[in-house]
């Protein structure tokens, strides 16, 4: 008996001593960049990931801080289109209140970090693709797509974090930190504004050549395409003041049979399924499971379930839309203007433009490039060149597609344009692209001051205060010169603290 036990014991001891764990454990939901780039499907997945970063927040479960929301808020809430109707601890407060902006804002930091994450992904893909000596059509197209995504993200960044481009000064103004490739991660200074714009344009020109191939992927409006590359070129050239090139690329897109300006009837429902319309050149597709609810783009400006509804149309925007005129009935763009919602004594007018995909008030696939912009880019370029006739022609083309009745009555003649034709175009663009993140940039690059002479929390309004009359022009937050340093967003402190070579913008 005793022997059996001893034998048993030795067995137990032996088994125990031999037990050892295999410590080579790797994650089961992820791969390394090296593993991914060994396969073409891996590169596709990395590029898909770039779009995903625009619709998710990859590192923070706080779904409010995602790229799309920050993009729309930082842009439109800085403009004269939106009333700030309820004080909030959300840092969107400082988008409205220029004087309270500072480098520690997490929304401003989040947009910056996510943009550069996309740039990193495109660089990882580009490092591998550009090594391919005999690329297939698919590879060429992916190459172009990566360049486009990088250029798009960089252009959006430079619009927020640097001064507007002026040919005379661009070589001396700071632009972006340019990350050339996947291993370019060390502290690095900002390139000049000129270098930044040249870099963006070069990416796009290369992409245009590469994407001139017939592949299935770029047929979808949810992905980059040669049309998207050209549309962005038209926009970037417009921002650079290169009117001829902007006209050239706008025309290329307008003439592309893939795109067609939506009719007034189509436009009423356009935003419910942007990816299906020929109006769209490129949109960021959001599926029902991507619905951000109260953290959606629509949430702050829409009055519906799941929406905060604390912001709305500003008085001057409604003026430009033709408040009190027949346009309220005839112009389809008035269908997005909702009934008055009174908060704290402020009459807020919510906007339903960015809602109702799949019947959901907070679901929307942002069209980052749509063909109507090409008409207005071209119109503005003509206006800058002094070609009033062509400017009016393009603006009328847009208006013809926005009127549900009495179309001709709402078209312009050259004689109607009494002031600066650029202002005339910008007014149309303001109405057409209200809440679509254009107005602020259009004002900035045209040296227009921001005038917010209406009541809201951007002023020193307090709840319940009388809203009769307008706030004084010299009151806090009402009148802001276009060259006010706080209109250029701060480089996030996280960058400055960890990248000593990176220069902060003046005033922070």
């Amino acid at each position: 008996m005793k022997k059996i036990f001893k034998y048993f014991l030795i067995m137990v001891a032996g088994a125990g001593l031999m037990t050892s764990c295999d410590l080579n454990i790797v994650p089961e939901d992820s791969l390394t960049g090296q593993q991914m780039t060994q396969s073409p499907t891996g590169i596709v997945d990395i590029l898909n990931g770039c779009y995903a970063v625009m619709k998710d927040h990859p590192e923070n479960s706080n779904s409010n801080n995602w790229y799309g929301r920050q993009f729309y808020q930082m842009s439109d809430f800085s403009s004269d289109d939106v009333v700030y109707g309820h004080a909030t601890t959300d840092e969107l407060n400082m988008i409205f209140k220029f004087e309270e902006r500072h480098a520690g804002l997490s929304n401003v930091a989040s947009f910056w970090a996510q943009s550069y994450k996309i740039i990193y992904s495109t660089n990882v893909a580009l490092d591998v693709i550009s090594e391919d000596a005999n690329p297939s059509d698919e590879t060429k197209s992916l190459h172009g797509e990566a360049l486009f995504l990088k250029a798009y993200v960089m252009h959006s960044l430079v619009r927020f974090y640097a001064k507007p481009y002026k040919e005379a000064t661009a070589a001396n103004e700071p632009g972006l930190v340019i990350r050339e490739n996947g291993s370019d991660a060390e502290p690095k200074g900002r390139a000049s504004l000129k270098e930044t714009y040249d870099y963006i344009v070069n990416c796009l020109l290369d992409a245009e050549k590469l994407m001139d191939v017939d592949v299935d992927r770029s047929q979808s409006r949810c992905f980059a395409s040669i049309g998207a590359v050209r549309a962005l070129l038209s926009r970037v050239y417009l921002y650079m003041g290169n009117w001829d090139k902007s006209i050239e690329y706008a025309t290329k897109v307008i003439n592309d049979p893939n795109y067609e300006i939506a009719s007034a009837t189509e436009f009423a429902d356009y935003f419910k399924s942007t990816w299906t319309s020929k109006e769209t050149i490129w949109c960021l597709k959001m599926l029902p499971q991507d619905d951000k609810g109260s953290g959606s783009v629509a949430s702050m400006i829409m009055k519906a379930d799941g929406c905060w509804g604390e912001e709305g149309y500003s008085e001057p925007l409604l003026e430009d839309m033709g408040r009190g005129t027949s346009l309220e009935n005839d112009d389809v763009r008035w269908t997005f203007v909702c009934d008055v919602n009174t908060k704290n004594g402020l009459d807020l007018i919510p906007c339903s433009k960015l809602s109702w995909q799949d019947g959901k008030p907070t679901l929307f696939s942002p069209p980052f490039l749509r063909v109507t912009e090409m008409y207005l880019n071209r119109a503005e370029a003509y206006a800058h060149k002094g070609d009033k006739a062509n400017a009016v022609k393009d603006v009328n083309e847009v208006r013809r597609h926005r009127m549900t009745a009495n179309v001709d009555a709402h078209l312009y003649t050259e004689a109607d344009v009494t002031g600066d034709p650029v202002d005339f175009v910008l007014k149309e663009k303001r109405v057409e692209f209200a809440f679509e993140a254009h107005r602020f940039f259009d004002l900035m690059r045209n040296d227009k001051d921001i005038v917010r002479d209406y009541w809201g929390y951007h002023t020193i309004y307090t709840a319940g205060q009388s809203t009769a009359g307008k706030p004084a022009m010299d009151a806090v937050g009402v009148y802001t010169r276009h060259d006010d340093t706080r209109l250029v967003f701060p480089i996030p402190s996280k960058e400055i603290d960890n990248n000593p070579n990176c220069e902060q913008n003046p005033g922070y």
Binding site: Q34, N48, H102
Partner: protein, 978 residues
């Protein structure tokens, strides 16, 4: 007849032994009231003595009435009783945790208290159990010097966080390692705990190497002590009330007056009463809703525990069942825990022992949606939840003064917003001990664990909520793992030398799988809420994670003549956390002690214990989650239903262990049996701190795991136990502990600093020479008496209203420098009165609750403190500025507060029924109150806040809406032993 015989016998003995006295009686144990077997009864100063029999009876003849009887037993306090004229002396022996011969369980091995060479504190069950809770952490609060126990929530079932000897890590886990019945990890019910040993220095924790940076808590569960079958039943019922500390809410009238300030014109400084009355008509005053009281309640606590134990020559067993149910002070919240334990030891042969311990536990919790609680907190007393019909009204279409269009009471009342979770876990311990030779044994101890967790949340459409509609979400996780330790243990004495040691091998591995499903579109009008019935927007997610570690352990103990003690250990760990090449690390330790009182030259009847001890060793930490060294493109999302990979982690193949070198010196002093003092000084240096360091985001990643810098924790701990009064009927004990810890970062490098903001721009700075978590905020300069605007200090020292140009300053840290505890116990006959409390002094916290109060129009109704003053006109020295200029979402030094507090944790009065009434049954009745009183410098919130940077901001007081209020608990407990 008997009396005659007895008389004759007495006469005889008197004649023979001259004036001898016979004394007899029963010795019983103070903890369970049972007769004690084998307790010794001596006549003081003689060799005359006896031991008690199975029923605790003894009989002894002593010289005369002046004789003194000494009652003693291992693990119990020795008692000396003068015989006097008594012939019967029944004596109760109290459990003593301070005795030199007490066995201290150190994890892999056990030592007697006299042999201990390192900083170790043992807390016995009777000292733990004054507090009624489902976890040991609550029970340890304030009872061990150098141990910080923080609980920032009164949520039923919530467990506190524990820090031993200061903050030692930035972003790796700092929680101590739990060792249950000698095996790392494991679960237990607090009612099954026999004792808890806290290992504080590397002399003791070095044996746990890579897992021991946060210290080690060794839990030992109960085992049978006597041959007699012993039953114990404990029933506890309690009443729980919410404890808001110094937090008061304004009623309608107070808030209405307060809101009038919002109508003060910034130019004229006059209130526009017309606008005020227009916006906020006086009819508001007709309604006064105390929103908080609508969702708060007094709740019930029930705790029952039944156990039976006994042993014989070949078997020793313990079986228990416990039930714990706590209702929450917020409606619809509760927690239930059921635990079954079976400890079995079989002596198969003289040399082979098998132990199989089984612990099965299950728990269930119901919660409520945190957002509903948040809405309640944001609502103001102006709005009524009721409609004209007296039912809860919908806020969607109502005019409101509060911010949200959500009436949270609809969710609370309907029971249609359900959050519940269930957990289930089983541990099976299997230990084989073989005595291979008188001095050598082989021990193989293994544990297999299985855990299962499920949460189910659903909300029906009729619940008002920000997001419309209904939804259901189910999450499950299933984990399993094992650990096996196989070691040889030796123990031999050569004359005055004694040598012991162990060498062994350990392997551990865990796997966990999780799965989450989500759906919307539940059938309308029915109570169906499983995932199957969802019809829209279905989502699923799941992952699998595993980790493992292999280790070699060894330890040597040497002692000479009970005077000199030396312990050395060496452990080698290899973990899957790091890249190949950086997986292994060696953790040595050495410690020694000198028992001066055992020296021949040392003679003292007063000093009963005098010992000096010193230790040095290394421990490590690796708990940062798996695979942090790898570059990771994660496939957890999609784009337009295509696979999408997102770069979420930057590679760092050089990542390695964070290591702490710990040095400890200590002294123990015992003066008679009345006073004992334990002093320790320590100096701990943690190198290669695991830091989730900020990077310039332009590189594609905002953070990377790195080893960077060192932190030095130095401090001392003093524990004093005094028994000022001790007679046979009255006894008074006082325990007092105090500790000081200082914390300083170094080795980051010249000019290197990083600023971490885990919550918006609320930032903390890390650089050489400062304390960890040092606040780094813009400098606040109070309200400008002339304008009522908040002012800041600019870079050049001038005052400015511009927050963005205010300078950053370092402004204290939430690290706790001074803390301690005091407990006292008064025993008189069968009555016992005890109390314990703890304090914290000298830390700086950030009051988010304060920040949101001062920001304009963030609707909540928190009452300003008595020191607050509202600015009304030029010249006012105020703390609350003009609302028109108030800044929201700003983080500055004006919102820092001192975190000092004293908490009276517990008061207990208990009474043990006399044996004469209860025969063999020991019955104790106790009345107690937990969390009796808090005195603090913090206004508006409970001062106990989280100290971990890995799960938020260390030292931030959450705003009123985001925190489950603390609780006060009144208990009635009855304990039966038979």
């Amino acid at each position: 007849m008997k009396k005659v015989l007895l008389f004759g016998l007495l006469m005889f003995t008197t004649l023979v032994m001259s004036a001898q006295v016979v004394v007899k009686g029963v010795v019983t144990a103070g903890d369970d009231g049972l007769p004690m077997v084998g307790a010794s009864v001596f006549e003081k100063g003689t060799l005359n003595g006896t031991v008690t029999d199975v029923d605790g009876n003894y009989t002894i003849s002593v010289r005369d009435a002046k004789a003194i009887l000494v009652f003693s037993s291992i693990g119990f306090r020795t008692v000396e009783i003068p015989v006097g004229n008594r012939a019967v002396i029944d004596q109760i022996l109290e459990v003593d945790s301070q005795l030199i011969d007490e066995v201290v369980v150190m994890g892999y091995s056990s030592k007697t208290r006299g042999e201990i060479t390192s900083a170790v504190t043992t807390v016995s069950a009777d000292k733990l159990k004054d507090v009624v809770s489902n976890n040991i952490g609550d029970m340890l609060q304030g009872k061990v010097a150098g141990v910080t126990v923080v609980k920032d929530s009164g949520r039923p079932g919530a467990e506190p966080s524990i820090r031993i000897r200061g903050a030692s890590s930035l972003h790796a886990s700092q929680e101590p390692l739990y060792v249950v019945d000698g095996i790392i990890g494991g679960s237990y019910d607090p009612d099954d705990v026999e004792s808890v040993t806290v290992l504080k220095d590397a002399g003791a924790t070095g044996m746990y190497g890579a897992q021991a940076n946060g210290g080690v808590i060794v839990v030992t569960t109960k085992k049978a002590k006597t041959n007699k079958l012993q039953f114990n039943f404990k029933a506890n019922v309690g009443l729980i009330t919410p404890d808001f500390s110094r937090q008061q809410l304004m009623n309608t009238k107070q808030l209405y007056t307060y809101y009038r300030e919002y109508f003060r014109d910034p130019e004229t400084h006059l209130v526009d009463d017309f606008a005020f009355k227009t916006a906020l008509p006086a009819s508001i005053l007709e309604n006064d809703t105390d929103w908080r009281s609508l969702i708060m309640q007094n709740a019930m606590l029930q705790n029952y525990h039944f156990s039976v134990m006994g042993k014989n020559d070949w078997y020793s067993g313990y079986l228990s069942f416990s039930y714990y149910k706590e209702d929450g002070t917020i409606r619809n919240t509760d927690y239930t825990q059921v635990n079954v334990r079976s400890n079995n030891t079989i002596n198969l042969t003289k040399w082979l022992t098998l132990t199989a311990n089984l612990d099965v536990s299950g728990n269930m919790g119901s919660g409520t949606d945190d957002n509903l609680v948040y809405y309640v907190g944001e609502n103001i007393p102006f709005d009524s939840p009721y409609g004209p019909d007296g039912n809860y009204r919908s806020f969607k279409e109502s005019k409101l003064y509060g911010r949200y269009d959500v009436n949270p009471m609809i969710g609370f009342e309907s029971g249609k917003d359900v959050r519940n979770n269930k957990g289930f876990g089983t541990d099976l311990d299997f230990v084989v001990t073989a005595k291979l030779a008188p001095w050598l044994s082989f021990v193989s101890q293994s544990r297999a664990s299985v855990g299962f967790w499920h949460s189910h949340n659903h909300r029906f459409a009729e619940v008002e909520y920000m997001k419309a509609g209904d939804e259901v979400e189910d999450s499950m996780s299933y984990s399993y793992g094992g650990i096996s330790t196989n070691m040889f243990k030796a123990d031999k004495t050569f004359g005055k030398h004694s040598l012991a040691g162990l060498v062994g091998y350990e392997a551990q591995m865990t796997w966990s799988n999780d799965l989450t499903g989500y759906g919307e579109g539940l059938p309308l009008g029915f109570d169906l809420s499983v995932l199957n019935v969802a019809s829209a927007n279905m989502k699923a997610a799941g992952n699998r994670v595993s980790s493992g570690m292999n280790s070699v352990i060894s330890q040597v103990n040497y002692s000479y003549d009970k005077r000199y003690f030396l312990t050395a250990s060496l452990r080698y760990d290899e973990s899957s956390t790091f890249a190949p090449g950086h997986r292994g690390a060696t953790f040595p330790s050495v410690s020694g002690a000198w028992a001066i009182n055992n020296e021949p030259f040392f003679h003292s009847d007063i000093i009963t214990n005098l010992k000096l001890k010193a230790s040095w060793g290394k421990t490590g930490m690796k708990d940062i989650g798996p695979s942090k060294y790898l570059e990771r493109f994660e496939y957890s999302t999609q784009y337009d239903s295509h696979s999408a990979a997102v770069p979420v982690q930057m590679a760092n193949r050089e990542l390695k262990w964070e290591e702490t070198s710990q040095f400890n010196v200590g002294a123990e002093l015992g003066i008679t049996d009345r006073v004992s003092i334990d002093l320790n000084y320590y100096r701990n240096v943690t190198d290669d701190l695991l830091v989730y360091r900020d990077l310039p985001p332009t590189g594609g990643f905002s953070n990377q795991w790195q080893n960077l810098g060192s932190v030095l924790n130095t401090g001392f701990e003093a524990a004093l136990s005094v028994t000022p009064v001790k007679t046979s009927e009255l006894r008074w004990d006082v325990d007092f502990s105090i500790s000081y810890n200082s914390n300083r970062l170094f080795n980051l490098g010249e000019g290197v600093q990083f600023i971490q903001s885990n919550y918006r721009s609320l930032s903390q700075i890390y650089r050489d020479g400062v304390e960890m978590y040092t606040w780094y905020l813009r400098e606040y300069a109070g309200v400008d008496p002339q304008t009522g605007r908040e002012q800041f200090v600019a870079e050049d020292g001038s005052l400015t209203y511009d927050y963005a140009s205010a300078r950053f300053v370092e402004a204290g840290s939430p690290n706790i420098p001074w803390q301690g505890g005091i407990s006292t116990q008064l025993t008189w006959k069968n009555f016992k009165l005890s109390a314990n409390g703890s304090f914290v002094w000298g830390n700086t916290l950030y009051g988010r609750n304060r920040a949101s109060r001062l920001a304009t129009f963030v609707s909540n109704s928190l009452m300003p403190s008595n020191e607050d003053k509202i600015w009304r006109q030029p010249g006012d020295q105020a703390t609350i500025g003009l609302p028109a200029y108030a800044l929201a979402s700003v983080y500055h030094t004006g919102d820092l507060v001192k975190g000092n507090y004293f908490k009276l944790r517990n008061v207990t009065l208990s009474y043990t029924l006399p044996k004469s009434l209860t025969k063999n049954t020991g019955i104790t009745i106790a009345l107690s109150c937990d969390n009796v009183f808090t005195g603090t410098t913090v206004w508006g919130a409970d001062p106990e806040v989280s100290m971990s940077a890995d799960s938020g901001v260390a030292g931030m007081i959450e705003s009123l809406d985001n925190r489950y209020p603390n609780k006060r608990q009144y208990n009635l407990q009855v304990n039966f032993t038979f």
